[in-house]
Amino acid sequence: MATVQDLPQITGVKNIPVEEFYNSGHRTCQGCESALVMRLMIKAAGQRTIVLGSTGCMYVANTTYYSTPWVVPWMHTQLGSAGSAATGTAAGLASMMRKGKMTQEPINVIAFCGDGGGVDMGLSAISAALQHDEYNLLIICYDNESYANTDIQASGSTPWGANTTFSPTGKDIRIMNTKQKKNMAPMIATGHPNMRFVATACASYGLDFNNKVRRALTIGGPTFIHCIDPCPKGWDYDPKYSHELGMLAIETGLWIQYEITDGELILNGPSRAIAKGIRKRKPVEEYLMRQGRFAHFLPEDIKFFQDKVEETWEKWWIPGLIPITPGQDD
């Protein structure tokens, strides 16, 4: 396995690097948390990094010809190709370095994809990439819970009942999207026995995300991070609440912050406090009712949603495979 860069854990917000490698020039919506994921990701990874980006908002809105925000080398990849882009880039570098055609050096390879590109279309390519123990690569799925770039259509990662342009609320059918959001990170973790690091994250907890990126890039082999990204356009709320919604997703227990290192599950942030009983989960209604995409919900829909959250916390975590450790106290 190729050597990795020296990227120590960041010990506090004051120690976050000041350099920006994702700069002005992008054209994402105000309050776009996915754009913040990009910025935090590359801040943590640093300059000796190649970034590959799948089609989606983080390509189309981000990388307009002549005004790219990327200071690091960046390349587009096809909608379902985050896994293949990471594999091809890592393989090309590894082969040439081994054969003496390129200077030996650990170069970070990060491929990102949206939920449409990763949770749906690119799932098989991501899965295949994560089997390559011989390459160091990180795949980040930024999940804004819809095919946002094409006008907010339901994906396999859209929550039950959400109003999208493919699942509108109509006169006859109130709940068009009857699918449950896929459980992506556990699916990845359980399905790839040799992977050393899988995590969930949220840009509202920037330092946590920074450090997860660094752990992913330094542990060796293929790694995966799944981020939940409030999207003002798709979720229908005032952009100034993006951060708050990200926090609410976790505080209500809907999104769970964790990392799985060598098969051991550790909860982070509010999720850990909830699991330890230090903190109570907020009712999911607080989160749902802040967003236009759930405005059509009746009390029974909110209850249905709440019941699913209860079920998640009480009945199943990652069934059968991973011992749960609440994590150390601060």
Binding site: Q47, R48, T49, I50, L52, Y59, V60, T63, T64, Y65, Y66, T68, W70, V71, V72, P73, W74, M75, H76, T77, Q78, G80, S81, G83, S84, A85, T87, G88, T89, A91, G92, L93, A94, S95, M96, R98, K99, G100, K101, M102, I107, S124, A125, S127, A128, H132
Partner: protein, 407 residues
């Protein structure tokens, strides 16, 4: 630590090998860095061969068994962007499964070399050769070449990297090899020495287009109507430039390796003074040459023109070769349902090529050998007779004929 490059062939020597093995040896001689594989008949014999070379320590490369053809081609596209020499391939529906990746490979100017083991596009299930699979890239900026022998497969694979990676070209190269007839049939092949190959094939250098932290470029930003037309135009110009690059490479190839037709684009067989010229691609050259030789012996003025490069298409050379014929009979191992006169793709290309001539030959089209059905000497005789009848009567009774098909 950099490894020492294994040297497979110190001396040039003869080997009894299949077309797929010939391409596999070319991969090793070219010191390819990344190869991606996915199983589908008949092309995958080349991947079985290179994986064996790797297992035996004869050839050092990163071998990735992709989980689909789409990934196969995406992976080599990205490896090519960081400067790695790449090889991939597919057949039939596998090639189509990869089509999105294949399309952008040309759009991004990545000089990936791919072997297409031509296969019918099932359903209904069929393993045999048809040219519609490879043909689908003809408009996209891929070089597209039809091979006739195992020797040519090896030679053209080496040519492929040389041409595709030329800094003035940077366009991918599809090496089309007829399923079974070429991929699986063995023939004596003169394998060149590593020294000869090293003299002919320079390393792949992307220069300022290489994706690397020392060269932090953004590849494939969103351009829309602002710039797309200019970028398409650049690809068009690269495709125009490649003809001269091909000629130059061909000349040097002949010098270093001591073999090769006079033209890299076409092969003329007994075309001089021919009144009827048959035109075709790939391995049907064999029965056609046999038939033409016999017809010549019987005093008939018949010739055969083999189109080697379908892209770029050497229109002027083809006009020159066919301009004096009275009738041209085009053999298509492909179909284009609903096209003008229901003709095949090659036929339309030829008819369009000859249209500007003052004196145009009569043109007939024969759809033959689909799904791997054999094209026989008798079939070629029938085509020649039909062309002769058209010359005698000055009339074409039927523009497109499906050959030896049950009615």
């Amino acid at each position: 630590m950099a490894t020492v490059k294994p040297r497979l062939y110190e001396e040039s020597k003869e080997e009894l090998i299949s077309g797929s093995e010939a391409v596999g040896i070319a991969c090793a001689l070219a010191d390819v860095d990344v190869i991606t594989a996915y199983p589908i008949r008949p092309y995958d014999t080349v991947m079985q061969y290179v994986s064996r070379l790797k297992a035996d320590g004869a050839f050092d490369f990163d071998f990735i068994i992709a989980e689909s053809e789409h990934s196969q081609f995406e992976i080599v596209k990205h490896a090519s962007a960081v400067g790695a020499r790449t090889f991939s391939g597919s057949s039939g529906v596998g090639w189509f499964y990869a089509f999105e990746a294949i399309t952008v490979t040309a759009g991004l100017r990545m000089p990936v070399v791919a072997m297409v083991g031509n296969r019918a596009l099932d359903d209904p299930g069929a393993f045999g050769v048809e040219h519609n699979d490879a043909m689908a890239v003809r408009d996209l900026g891929w070089h597209l070449y039809w091979v006739a022998t195992a020797q040519e497969a090896l030679d053209m694979a080496l040519m492929a990297w040389r041409i595709a990676e030329d800094p003035t070209v940077l366009l991918p190269f599809a090496l089309s090899c007829d399923g079974s007839f070429l991929t699986h049939s063995q023939a004596i092949v003169q394998v060149p020495s590593q020294d000869q190959v090293d003299r002919f094939l320079p390393p792949y250098k992307r220069g300022t287009l290489q994706l690397h932290p020392d060269n932090p470029i953004t590849i494939a930003p969103q351009v829309n109507e602002d710039w797309l037309m200019e970028i398409r135009r650049q690809t068009d110009e690269a495709m125009r430039r490649t003809s001269a690059v091909i000629r130059q490479a061909h000349e040097e190839f002949r010098e270093i390796f001591g073999r090769g037709d006079p033209s890299p684009f076409i092969e003329e067989f007994m075309c001089e003074d021919a009144e009827i010229i048959l035109v075709g691609m790939g391995t049907l050259a064999m029965p056609t040459r046999v038939a033409v030789r016999r017809l010549r012996a019987a005093g008939k003025k018949v010739g055969f023109l083999r189109i080697k490069f379908f892209r770029p298409f050497a229109a002027e050379e083809v006009q020159e070769a066919l301009g004096d014929a009275k009738a041209v009979a085009v053999i298509d191992r492909d179909y284009s349902y609903g096209s003008p006169s229901g003709g095949g793709v090659l036929f339309h290309e030829l008819r369009s090529t000859l249209y500007p001539l003052d004196k145009r030959p009569l043109m007939l089209n024969f759809i033959a050998g689909l799904g791997g059905r054999e094209v026989t000497v008798d079939d070629i005789n029938m085509m020649t007779e039909t062309a002769q009848k058209a010359i005698d009567t000055g009339k074409i009774e039927q523009e497109t004929t499906w050959v030896s098909v049950r009615e």
